[in-house]
C-alpha cells in the first residue's frame, strides 16, 4: 500500500499539499482527480522522492521512501524525461543498463503494441508516441506500483485508446496504479478508487463501485458535488 500521511508541501509562500492523507492499495487502480494546481503532480513527485515534503510522510508498504523506492515504484511523468539526442533503442538500452528489474521482453512487446520505431530520435517523436514510450519505460519495470501523471492528456485519440487498453491488460494486473487526471471522462470504469483533490487537500476518497452501489452516483456526480459546492 502507498500511503501519504498528512503530507504538506510549500513552494515559498504557496502551500501545494496541505496535510494530505490518502492510500492506494496494491492491485488497485487509484485515480487522483483535481483541477490543475490541485497538487496531483506534486504528490506523485513526493511519493517518488523527486521533491521533498515540508511536512508529513510518505510510506510505501510501511517503509519510508528511500533508494529502494525505485525498484518498487515506476513513475511515468507527464513528459518523457530522456535526452532528445537519444534514440528509442538507446532509451531502452539505458533503462536496461540501470534497472535490474527491467523486463526487456515486455519492453519489446510494448514496442510492437505501441507501434514505435526503434531508430526514431526522442526529439522527433510525436506527443502521443513520446507518451507511449514514456509509459513503456514505466511498465517494462517489474514493480509493485506504477504512478502515471496525466497519461491521457493532450494526445491523439488512437494513442489514448491504446494506453487505456493497457489498464485492462496483464501489464497492470496485481500492481498498484496511481494515475492523475483533471477530466475523468471515459476512464471512469477503469479505476477502482477515486481521490478528489482541491487546493492540496483531499475532498473525497471513495471506492467507485461502492459509491455506485451505495449512492448510485458516478464519479463525475461526486466531482460535481465537490467542485461546485
Amino acid at each position: 500500500m502507498i500511503e501519504a500521511v498528512r503530507a504538506t508541501k510549500k513552494f515559498g509562500r504557496k502551500t501545494v499539499l496541505r496535510n494530505l492523507s490518502m492510500t492506494a492499495e496494491k492491485g488497485q487502480i487509484t485515480c487522483l482527480i483535481g483541477i490543475n494546481g490541485a497538487g496531483k503532480s506534486t504528490l506523485l513527485k513526493a511519493i517518488m522522492g523527486l521533491t521533498p515534503l515540508s511536512g508529513g510522510q510518505i510510506r510505501i508498504d510501511g517503509a519510508p521512501i528511500g533508494k529502494a523506492v525505485y525498484e518498487k515504484v515506476a513513475f511515468v511523468p507527464d513528459t518523457l524525461p530522456m535526452p532528445p539526442s537519444m534514440t528509442v533503442a538507446d532509451s531502452l538500452q539505458f533503462m536496461g543498463d540501470y534497472y535490474s528489474n527491467w523486463n526487456a521482453k515486455r519492453a519489446s512487446d510494448l514496442l510492437v503494441f505501441f507501434r514505435l520505431n526503434v531508430s526514431d530520435r526522442i526529439s522527433s517523436l510525436s506527443k502521443g508516441n513520446a507518451a507511449k514510450l514514456n509509459l513503456l519505460h514505466g511498465l517494462s519495470l517489474d514493480t509493485d506500483y506504477v504512478l502515471m501523471d496525466e497519461p491521457f492528456s493532450g494526445i491523439d485519440l488512437f494513442s489514448r485508446e491504446q494506453i487505456a487498453s493497457v489498464f485492462t491488460s496483464d501489464l497492470i494486473e496485481g500492481r498498484g496504479v496511481i494515475l492523475t487526471t483533471h477530466e475523468i471522462g471515459e476512464i471512469e470504469h477503469l479505476i477502482d478508487k477515486a481521490v478528489l483533490l482541491d487546493q492540496g487537500e483531499v475532498r473525497r476518497e471513495f471506492m467507485c463501485e461502492e459509491m455506485r452501489m451505495a449512492e448510485g452516483k458516478s464519479v463525475i456526480d461526486v466531482m460535481r458535488e465537490v467542485y461546485r459546492a
Binding site: 513527485k45 523527486l50 521533491t51 525505485y70 524525461p81 540501470y98 526522442i122
Partner: protein
C-alpha cells in the same frame, strides 16, 4: 560500482563532441601558429642575412644569437596560450552545465536520473569524475603536444639557430604552464586536489540552488564565497594580525582547510541530493 562506471561513461559521452573540438582547437592554434611563426622567422633571417651579407646561418647566429623554442612560442602569442585559457574557461563553465543541462528542455532528464535505483551520490561521483577526467585529459593532451611542437621547431629551424630545450625546462619557466603542470608530482597532486575540492564546492553551490530555488542562488554564492575565504584565511592571518605562520605551518593549514572543505562539500551535497533536491 558498475552503475557508477556506467554513469561516468555516459557523462563522458555526453560532452565528447565539445571536448574533441577543444583538443583539436588547441592543436591547430598551437601547431599551426608555430608553423607560421617559424616560417616568417626564417624569411626574416634570410632577409637580414642578405642585408648584412652574412654568408651562413652560423654567422647569423654569431651576430644575432639563436632563437630558442621558448622565445618562438612567446613570439606567436596569443596563439599559444589562448587556446589553453579557452579550454579552462570551457571546463569551468561545464562544471555548472554538467548539472543544469539535466534540468533543461521540455523533458528534464533529471527526473530519470533521480529515479535510478542507485545511490544518488553515484550521480555526483560520476559528474565529478567526468570533470576531473576532462581536466586531466587536456593536461595530458598538452603534454603530448609539447614534444610535437618541439619536433616541428627542430625540423624547420637550421641547427645553428636552434637551442635544444627540454619540455620540463620549458614548462618550468613558462608563466601559464608552470602553474598548470607543477614541478613535482607531489605538487601536481596538491594542485589538482585543490582543483577537485574547488569543483566539489561549486557542485555544492549548484545543488544548494537546485534545492532552495529562491534563496538557493544566494545560498550557493555564500557557500562558494565562504569556501574561498576559508582558503585565503591562512594568508590573511599572516598579513593581518601579524601572527606569522611559518611556510610549513601555512601549508599544513591549507591542506587541513582544503580537506575540511572537501568533506563539508561532499556531506552537504549528499544531504541535498537525497533529502532536498527538487525537480
Amino acid at each position: 560500482m558498475n552503475r557508477y562506471l556506467k554513469l561516468v561513461v555516459m557523462e563522458l559521452h555526453r560532452f565528447w563532441k565539445i571536448y574533441a573540438a577543444l583538443m583539436l582547437l588547441t592543436f591547430l592554434s598551437q601547431f599551426g601558429g608555430l608553423f607560421l611563426t617559424l616560417r616568417s622567422y626564417l624569411t626574416e633571417v634570410k632577409g637580414r642575412m642578405y642585408a648584412e651579407s652574412l654568408y651562413d646561418y652560423a654567422a647569423y647566429a654569431e651576430k644575432h644569437g639563436p632563437e630558442s623554442f621558448y622565445t618562438m612560442t612567446s613570439r606567436m602569442e596569443p596563439w599559444f596560450t589562448a587556446p589553453v585559457l579557452l579550454c579552462i574557461a570551457a571546463l569551468l563553465f561545464y562544471v555548472f552545465m554538467i548539472w543544469y543541462r539535466d534540468w533543461f528542455g521540455k523533458n528534464p532528464f533529471v527526473y530519470r536520473m533521480l529515479m535510478l535505483p542507485t545511490s544518488r551520490m553515484n550521480l555526483y561521483w560520476a559528474k565529478l569524475t567526468a570533470i576531473m577526467v576532462f581536466v586531466l585529459g587536456l593536461v595530458g593532451w598538452q603534454l603530448v603536444l609539447f614534444p610535437l611542437h618541439m619536433a616541428l621547431y627542430r625540423s624547420m629551424l637550421p641547427a645553428e639557430l636552434a637551442v635544444t630545450q627540454s619540455v620540463e625546462s620549458f614548462i618550468h619557466h613558462h608563466s601559464v604552464f608552470q602553474t598548470l603542470i607543477p614541478q613535482t608530482f607531489t605538487e601536481f597532486v596538491l594542485y589538482y586536489g585543490a582543483g577537485l575540492m574547488t569543483v566539489t564546492v561549486l557542485f555544492t553551490s549548484v545543488l544548494i540552488e537546485r534545492s532552495y530555488r529562491f534563496k538557493g542562488i544566494a545560498g550557493g554564492l555564500v557557500y562558494a564565497a565562504a569556501s574561498l575565504f576559508a582558503m585565503l584565511a591562512p594568508q590573511l592571518v599572516n598579513d593581518g594580525i601579524g601572527f606569522e605562520l611559518y611556510p610549513w605551518e601555512t601549508f599544513l593549514l591549507l591542506v587541513v582547510i582544503g580537506a575540511v572543505l572537501l568533506a563539508l562539500s561532499l556531506g552537504i551535497s549528499r544531504y541535498l541530493l537525497i533529502r532536498k533536491i527538487t525537480v
